[in-house]
């Protein structure tokens, strides 16, 4: 067995056998899932402290009657319509009277109602008020035109428009997609890349510092070349990361399978059961039949979302992810290894960490912006620059990226990571044997130019 594989094996096994690895591998997806599930629940439950809001309407009797009940109660807020109360008194006393705030509506300033409160009201509340008040005012204005059957006309014209996106490739094949789904996976891809590069990159750094401070490194480099030790560690930890990633993919595929077989088969059978009698009524009505079948709309939505998820270019996404993880990780991990070699303990890493962290953070920020406009020039350039491209490109891929761009980005990535590994190895070789001196950037530059 060659020496580098002995090193890789040790680095891999000592980490994979750790309890913390096993716990993290199982816990991380659960944690992620629970955040996605719990966060909305928590946000809703947080609203359950009943707020009473006094509504005072000024102006004529007719105006008042028109406005009463304009703003319906929500889960969190109750609107109490008060009559014959002076607004100036109320503003002074509403707190003592148990109200959260006072809403003042007057015909003179109809478009700018006033909301008095002790605390800055949440945006949900102000939006709720303005939306409902606007509807009521519009309705009132319409009513002034004395249109017959106004209510039923209004019901009839109520519409909701949703854009269904379909991709067309060169062969004319159509694929139904969803922008929301693409966004979710762009976000997940970019964020996961950021997390993995950071977590495993800093593991490399800690490993190097451990070897240096425990003074084990000099014994090892008398048997193997420093670059073999460095790459052995980097590759070993990369394999740990890939192992974890594979386990997550398997868990995810398993979970998707379970959901599909339970939830979706139910919708399908429900649709099938409702079909036969409608088919008699002719083809045209089949779609109507499906709609009228007793399939709950939530299930339909889930089923549709699943189709959209499945319609993403998964082989491309997964392969790019693995590619960008490996190269991006190698790039950053080698820099982290060089930093680890230059310091005597972890607290000294601060001064070197900042310049390394900044491109990663920029990458993450650009990736988040990318979701609004994946074709923008900022998204393009940052998906080409190797320091940010792993994160930004992963955010772009679900929206579709021209193959030439992908090729250029990957080629740049390969060239850069090789250059970075080479430079890092030079710093590392000198750094691991230096003790007790506080290292500066100038020093690192000097090490870079030392001969073998």
């Amino acid at each position: 067995m060659s020496k580098i594989s002995v090193i890789i094996k040790r680095e891999y096994l000592t980490r994979v056998r750790k309890k913390s690895f096993i716990i993290m591998t199982i816990l991380a997806p659960l944690l992620m899932a629970s955040i996605f599930v719990l966060l909305p629940v928590l946000m809703l439950s947080g609203e359950r402290d009943d707020k009473k809001i006094a509504v005072i309407i000024d102006g004529s009797e007719i105006f008042r009657e028109e406005c009463i009940g304009a703003i319906p109660d929500t889960k969190a807020e109750k609107f109490v319509y008060l009559q014959d109360v002076d607004i100036n008194d109320m503003v002074k006393t509403f707190g003592a009277a148990g109200y959260y705030g006072v809403l003042y509506i007057s015909p003179e300033a109809l478009n700018t109602p006033l909301l008095y409160s002790k605390k800055q009201p949440p945006s949900g509340l102000t939006e709720h008020i303005s939306r409902n008040l606007k509807n009521r005012i519009e309705k009132n204005k319409l009513q002034e035109h004395n249109i017959r059957n106004l209510d039923s006309i209004l019901m009839q014209i109520r519409t909701s428009v949703e854009v269904n996106t379909t991709l067309v490739d060169e062969t004319g094949k159509l694929t139904e997609t969803s922008t929301d789904v693409a966004m979710i996976f762009a976000y997940l891809g970019g964020f996961l890349m950021y997390m993995l590069v950071f977590i495993f990159g800093s593991q490399v750094m800690r490993g190097v510092i451990e070897e240096k401070t425990s003074r084990v490194v000099e014994v090892i480099v008398s048997s193997v070349k420093p670059i073999e030790l460095m790459m052995g560690k980097v590759i070993g930890i990369a394999l740990v990361g890939l192992t974890q990633f594979m386990i997550w993919v398997i868990l995810l595929v398993g979970a998707v399978g379970v959901v599909q077989s339970t939830v979706l088969s139910k919708t399908n059978t429900e649709i099938m059961q409702s079909l036969p009698q409608d088919i008699m009524a002719g083809n045209q009505q089949v779609s109507e039949a499906v709609k009228s079948a007793e399939v709950s709309p939530e299930l339909m939505e889930i089923s549709e979302a699943f189709d959209n998820v499945m319609n993403l270019n998964w082989p491309l996404i997964l392969l790019s992810f693995v590619f960008y993880f490996i190269t991006g990780y190698l790039l950053y991990a080698s820099v982290f290894a060089a930093i680890g070699s230059a310091v005597d303990n972890e607290t000294e890493t601060q001064q070197f960490m900042l310049p390394v962290t900044i491109p990663i953070i920029i990458g993450l920020l650009v990736a988040m912006g990318t979701m609004q406009n994946p074709e923008s020039s900022i998204a393009f350039w940052f998906s080409m620059i190797p320091l940010t491209s792993p994160i930004v490109m992963m955010a772009r891929i679900p929206f579709g990226v021209p193959y030439w761009q992908l090729a250029v980005s990957m080629a740049l990535m390969v060239v850069t990571f090789i250059a970075f590994v080479w430079m890092a190895a030079k710093v590392y070789r000198t750094g691991i044997l230096m003790y007790g001196k506080k290292t500066s950037w100038k020093e690192l530059w000097k090490w870079l130019r030392y001969s073998g």
């Binding site: 000099e218 420093p226 030392y450």
Partner: protein
């Protein structure tokens, strides 16, 4: 024939010269002392021998052939700055180091069993390194250094951290390794152990070789004009034109005196003048300790 040779090794770190045309020649089955004050360049030379760093100029030979990367399998190195992975188990770790030196797992296992039994540490096999005392860790490190039966072994301060009993065990193991054919380079500040163990030495100071040769020869050379006398009783002698008194001490009804003379004066001349002083019970040419030689040589350069 020398087993290892370094010729005209020069190494620079930026503007700092760590080694300036240093040559050493280590005879086979010799214990070779590499001495020098802190920062003299010893560690750099040792690292060059181990091919951890390369020299700027100069050549290295092992067994008469140019030193090659694969020769690390024939060299064992116990660095001064040494350590083990704290969280790893002792046995696993020893196996790991053995494999890095090119041993197969089964062969490494067989040899480790022998050495663990020999140094009486079998019980530690499954323990984590952090549970061991420093001396215990040193024993494990000693084993990993010699396990692959290297022809050339480099020990940098091998006795630090050992109690006298264990230091003696390790000393005997080093002598045993030499008997079985190994050649040893031994770097230390402990001059007592140099006198005890080393056949030859090189003294490096400020990147240059300033003294080299066999220990006995060097001591004799530096002793040329000094003599030790021991008289019975409390004796006092006066300085004269023949000799200078370096020290004079009376203790337990005995007096020890050390004199230094000029080159042209023989021991007989001195004996003739000193004998009258009292009852002489011993007379020796004084051999300075390696410690004294070390200090004198290094200080004379400053």
């Amino acid at each position: 024939m020398s087993l290892f040779e370094a010729r005209n090794i020069t190494k620079q770190f930026g503007s700092l010269t760590a080694l300036d045309k240093v040559s050493i020649s280590v005879p086979e089955q010799c214990i070779y002392g590499l001495l020098g004050p802190n920062g003299a360049g010893k560690t750099t030379l040792i690292r060059i021998i181990n091919q951890i760093t390369g020299p700027d100029t100069g050549e290295l030979f092992l067994n008469g052939k140019k030193l090659m990367p694969d020769d690390v399998h024939s060299i064992g190195y116990l660095p001064e700055e040494r350590g083990l992975y704290k969280k790893m188990k002792v046995g696993e770790q020893a196996l790991y180091f053995a494999q890095l030196k090119g041993l197969s797992k089964t062969e490494a296992m067989r040899r480790l069993k022998y050495w663990f039994r020999k140094l009486d540490i079998v019980d530690w096999w499954g323990k984590k390194v952090e549970e061991l005392s420093k001396g215990m860790q040193q024993k494990v490190q000693f084993i990993t250094t010699v396990l692959h039966e290297p022809k050339l072994i480099i020990f940098d301060e091998p006795f630090t951290g050992f109690d006298p009993v264990n230091a003696n065990i390790i000393k005997n193991e080093i002598l045993f390794l030499r008997e079985r054919g190994a050649t040893i380079i031994f770097s230390t500040h402990n001059m007592g152990s140099v006198e005890e163990l080393c056949d030859n030495i090189t003294l490096i100071d400020k990147a240059k070789t300033i003294l080299e040769g066999s220990v006995n020869e060097i001591r004799r050379k530096w002793a040329a004009n000094e003599y030790d006398f021991i008289f019975r009783g409390n004796v006092k002698i006066e300085e004269n034109s023949l000799y200078k008194i370096l020290s004079q001490k009376s203790e337990n009804d005995k007096t020890a005196i050390r004199l230094s003379t000029k080159e042209e004066i023989t021991s007989n001349d001195i004996l003739n003048t000193v004998l009258n002083a009292g009852n002489l019970i011993s007379f020796n040419p004084a051999l300075p300790s390696m410690n004294e030689i070390f200090i004198r040589v290094v200080e004379s350069r400053n």
